[in-house]
Each structure stands twice: as structure tokens, then as C-alpha cells.
Symmetry: C2
Subunit: 330 residues, 2 copies
């Protein structure tokens, strides 16, 4: 038995969540529903303009790993924070959830701070993310412990990390160690604009290394540069063993081995959409390592996503296993 069922690698962040009207997005020049990278001066300016906020640990892959840990999975996370107060918050929340988290801290005198994401939540529950990467941008190959990767049934790579200067080398090191020991590789495309920025690298990795692809409709269309969703799904399924593609209120499509399933969305009042895709992946991966069939994995993913969007913050608050039970899935 491998020590870890899932090891995630991603951008370590604390979310700064504030509510605002749609008009604020326009005034502040924020693109709705997407992730935009910002620098420190912009972070300071935006922060001074948003209303009272809440600080809750986030980071896409970290949310996924928190979900796996919440469900009782054996799981670890790799991502960089600084030796500062926000870094301590991030580390605490992940470990307190039961995940292993041992990435070396960036030192107190590092020029950047722990990364944060200013998330503006509009009345429709949509989140618009403004990411100051800080020290997490500089995760290096030396931060990847090949031993840990070789002990993973699955590694889970966050697409957002493609924005880091050393990320490709770090991912390559993780993939080699994992695959060399018989493990498998999953990835999330993270964001349509992130796909746009790094399409060739994503395409290469998907063709050559990825066993399980997570994405949503917009990311899938961006990846294959088409408006034909079914054609994109078919193309992805020809390149990857398992494709799990979410489609908002239309649920999730899972394709594997010439077969295709549809898992309907679980209707919920959307309070804050932050982390819906992350927790879909977390529940899906956990279910997969428990031996559930792919359709059930997708259904559990949807239940977990519906829990996350029903409250502020991207980490589970209700007992997800109890929700799976209520939905007749376990």
C-alpha cells in the first residue's frame, strides 16, 4: 500500500473574501468569474477598496487536498508559503484537516509575502479572483521530494502553477518520480486564460503524462480552440485515460475507455462559487482511490461542489461523507 492516495502540488494561498455589487467589478477593472494575476501595488490598492473581508485558507490544489483529507484520504500537499502570519494560517488549516504539509518555508527576509487571492463575490455567488502569487510563484524542483512522489497513488497538478518560472521543471520531476514507481498523474486546467497562456505545455503534458484530466467547459474549449464542446471532449478522451469535465448547472461529463457518463448537478443556492471545481476534484479523486466506479466518482464530486458553493470559503464545512450517504452514494 502506498503511503499517500493523493499528493497535490499547487499555489499556496490565503483567500481574502469580500462581497461587492457587480458595479464594483467594473469600477475596479476586475474581470468577472476569472482569475487574474496581480502584483503587490495592485493588491494593496484593491484591498483598500474592498469592504470588510474574511481570511480563509485557499489555493486551488490545497482546497482539493483538504477535501481528500476531510474524507479521510491519505494525502499530502506541496506549495510554498513564507514564514509569516498568513503562511502560518495556511499551514495550520491544511494540517488541521489531516493532510501532510512539509514544504520548506520561504524565509522571513524573502522579498515577497505569502500569496493571497482577493476574491470578490457578487450577489449571484460568482467569484472574481485577483491573485498575488508572492512566494508561491517560486516553488522549485528542489521543493519536490521524489520519495514523496513515489509514494503517491495519484499526484494532482494545479494548472495555475504553469505561471511559475520553475514550474515545468518541478512538475517534470514530480511526474517522473510518481510514474517511475507506478503512480498515476492527474491535472486540472484551472482557468481558460491560464490554458491560453500555456496551451502548448498543457497539450504536451496531457498527451504524454496525464492519466486523469479535470477541467470545466470553458477550459476544455480553450484547450482545443473550438466552440464544439462534444468534439473537444472526444479529442481529450482520445488523449487521456479519464476525462472529468464539469459544466456548471449542467453537471459533469466523465469519459473513459470509449464510454461516457453524465453526473447531474446537485441544485443548491449559490452563496460563493469559490472552490467548486477544487472540491469536485477532491471528492472524485478520493472516490477513485476507494474503488468507486467513474459515474459515482462524478456524482460524489457534484455533491462536494454543491456543499462548497453553499457557504463562504473553499474548504468543506459540512460532513461530506454524510452528504454522500444522504444522496445514496455510499
Amino acid at each position: 500500500m502506498k503511503k499517500f492516495q493523493v499528493v497535490g502540488i499547487g499555489n499556496a494561498m490565503v483567500d481574502v473574501l469580500a462581497r461587492a455589487e457587480d458595479s464594483f467589478l467594473t469600477e475596479a477593472g476586475i474581470g468577472k468569474g476569472i482569475m487574474q494575476l496581480i502584483d503587490m501595488p495592485r493588491a494593496v490598492d484593491l484591498y483598500s477598496r474592498i469592504g470588510p473581508a474574511k481570511e480563509i485558507s485557499g489555493g486551488s490544489a490545497a482546497n482539493t487536498i483538504a477535501g481528500v483529507a476531510h474524507l479521510g484520504g491519505r494525502t499530502a500537499y506541496v506549495g510554498k508559503v513564507k514564514d509569516d502570519q498568513l503562511g502560518a494560517i495556511f499551514a495550520h488549516d491544511l494540517r488541521a484537516q489531516g493532510a501532510v504539509y512539509e514544504t520548506a518555508l520561504a524565509p522571513k527576509d524573502a522579498p515577497q509575502e505569502t500569496g493571497r487571492c482577493i476574491v470578490v463575490v457578487t450577489p449571484d455567488g460568482e467569484r472574481s479572483m485577483n491573485t498575488y502569487l508572492g512566494v508561491t510563484e517560486f516553488l522549485e524542483p528542489s521543493d519536490i521530494d521524489p520519495d514523496m512522489m513515489s509514494q503517491a497513488e495519484w499526484i494532482y497538478l494545479e494548472g495555475y502553477r504553469f505561471d511559475g518560472p520553475q514550474s515545468h521543471a518541478a512538475f517534470a520531476k514530480a511526474i517522473a518520480a510518481c510514474k517511475g514507481a507506478g503512480g498515476r498523474v492527474s491535472i486540472t486546467l484551472s482557468d481558460p486564460f491560464c490554458v491560453e497562456r500555456h496551451r502548448d505545455a498543457f497539450r504536451r503534458m496531457i498527451r504524454d503524462d496525464v492519466d486523469l484530466l479535470f477541467c470545466n467547459r470553458a477550459e476544455m474549449l480553450s484547450m482545443y480552440q473550438t466552440a464544439d464542446f462534444d468534439a473537444a471532449l472526444t479529442q481529450a478522451a482520445a488523449e487521456v485515460a479519464i476525462v472529468a469535465c464539469t459544466d456548471s448547472e449542467h453537471g459533469a461529463h466523465i469519459l473513459s475507455d470509449g464510454q461516457r457518463w453524465h453526473a447531474p448537478a446537485v441544485p443548491t443556492k449559490i452563496v460563493d462559487a469559490t472552490g467548486a471545481g477544487d472540491l469536485f476534484a477532491g471528492a472524485f479523486l478520493w472516490a477513485l482511490t476507494q474503488g468507486y466506479d467513474l459515474e459515482t466518482c462524478g456524482k460524489m464530486g457534484n455533491v462536494a461542489a454543491s456543499e462548497i458553493i453553499s457557504h463562504i470559503g473553499a474548504r468543506p464545512e459540512a460532513d461530506l461523507k454524510a452528504l454522500f450517504q444522504k444522496a445514496g452514494l455510499i
Copy 2:
């Protein structure tokens, strides 16, 4: 017209909110439902033992002032944070709510950090508070701007501050400047054990300087060292122009000028009791400065308290004025 309707002085804190079963309180040696002062080693130990948490600006008088600001009152706050990430969060959230906050920061090399309160919320919604005061303990008379105090219709003093070494002198300076310019003084007793620690000083200040006393039943009984609630209320009313005493689900009692009113509690599902008393005071003070009668002030206080206990965190999330309107109070 004075520049400020209410100026609050208190312990500046960020709340670290985590849920736990009652058994955790026993294991961790935490007294249920009260505030206990802890040092940094205890804070580090407790933090390592609680589950994933949320960071939300708190501090008793700061919550009250945030309530006044939320309602559109002209208001300011005095309390010390450090030039660190938690200090920036505290300052942002108060200013973003519309309060003036100009207290000098403790410098980066101060031996303590910004204060924080580890709040353990049990399934019944009760909160048990573990307070690391940090730099906020050292608010000095020099932090009190007499000019600001002279421009306040009301100052609002947080009883918890009696635990600070220079707090009595700081309060005396604030009171002199406020009263010298025709302003009035309100105080909250904060906590029955805090009253126990500083009973004589509280009693003296109440007799000599206080025009409006906020407290709850336990604090009132502790103050007058009696089990007879009505006798304590009568005694307080003989010493102070206005007494506003909350009594959990039994509502609030207001006494003034030989008269007595009862404002019934507003029934709500208690999610997190943190800040109920603070927001009662915030709404009461705002209503008073708007010229509402004392009974209505109490009723608005209860509506505000019911909003606060319906969610995690001690700052208002719903529109309190809309709730007052719905309750037929404005």
C-alpha cells in the same frame, strides 16, 4: 454638531474561529462561554490543536464600532495593533466598514504580535474565548488623542481593557477630554471574571463617570456580588443614568430615571454567539444618537444581536437597517 457620535476604546484583535465538540473544551482545559487570557506558548499550543479555522476581525469594542459604522454612524476606534499581516487585516476591516481608525501601530520589532482571540464554537453556538492580547495590552495614555475624545458625543470603553497596565490612566484621559467638552461616557463590563479582577476600579468609574452602562446578567451579578438580579439592576440604576443589561434569551432590561423597560429577545438559531453583546451595544448607541427612545434602542440592540449570532464572526453581514425596518422599528 460633534464630529463623532461614538468613539470606542478597546482591545484590537483578530478572531480565529474554529468549531469543536464540548469534549474538546475539557481536553484542552478551556472554560466554556467565558474569556480567558492566554500567553503566546498557550496560543501556539491551542492553535495546533484546533481544526481548520477562519480569521475574521474582532475585538469587543471594535465590533461595536463596526456596528455603529455599518448603520451609518460617525464613529472612530482606538486600539493597538502591530505593523504585521494580522494588524493590516484588523485595520482594513474597520476602515472598510466606515470607521475612523488612526491609532499608531506597534513597530515591526515589537516583541509581541497583533492580538488574537482563539474562539472555540461548540455545537450549541456558545463561544469560548482564548485571548492572546499581544501589543493591544500596551495601549498608553499617549495613544489617546484628547481632541478626538472632545469631538465625541459618546465614548465607549471596553471593560476588557482594564487588564492592560496603563489602561486606567488611558481611560481617565479619555473621560476627562470627553466630559470636559460635554460628551458622555458609556462602558461595557465585558465579562464576569474581568469584573471580578477589577471590581473596585469598575465600581469607582461607574459611580463617578459613567452615563450608560452595558452589561449582561452574569456581569451585573458579579459587579454587585449578589444572586438577586433585580436588586443588582436597581443598585446600578441608582448609580448610572442609563443601564442596559442583556439577559440572553430573556431579552434586555433598560433602566433610566426611575423607569424600567423590557425588550424581548429576537428568536434565532444560534450558529456562533461571538459578538452578540457587542452588536447589541453598537445598535443601542447608534439608536440613542438618532434620538430613539430607550425601549426602541433596546429592541434595535436585540435585532442586531440576533443577526450576529446567526452566522460565524462578530461583524454584521446582513443590512441591519433593513432588519430594523422589517421589525417595524424605523
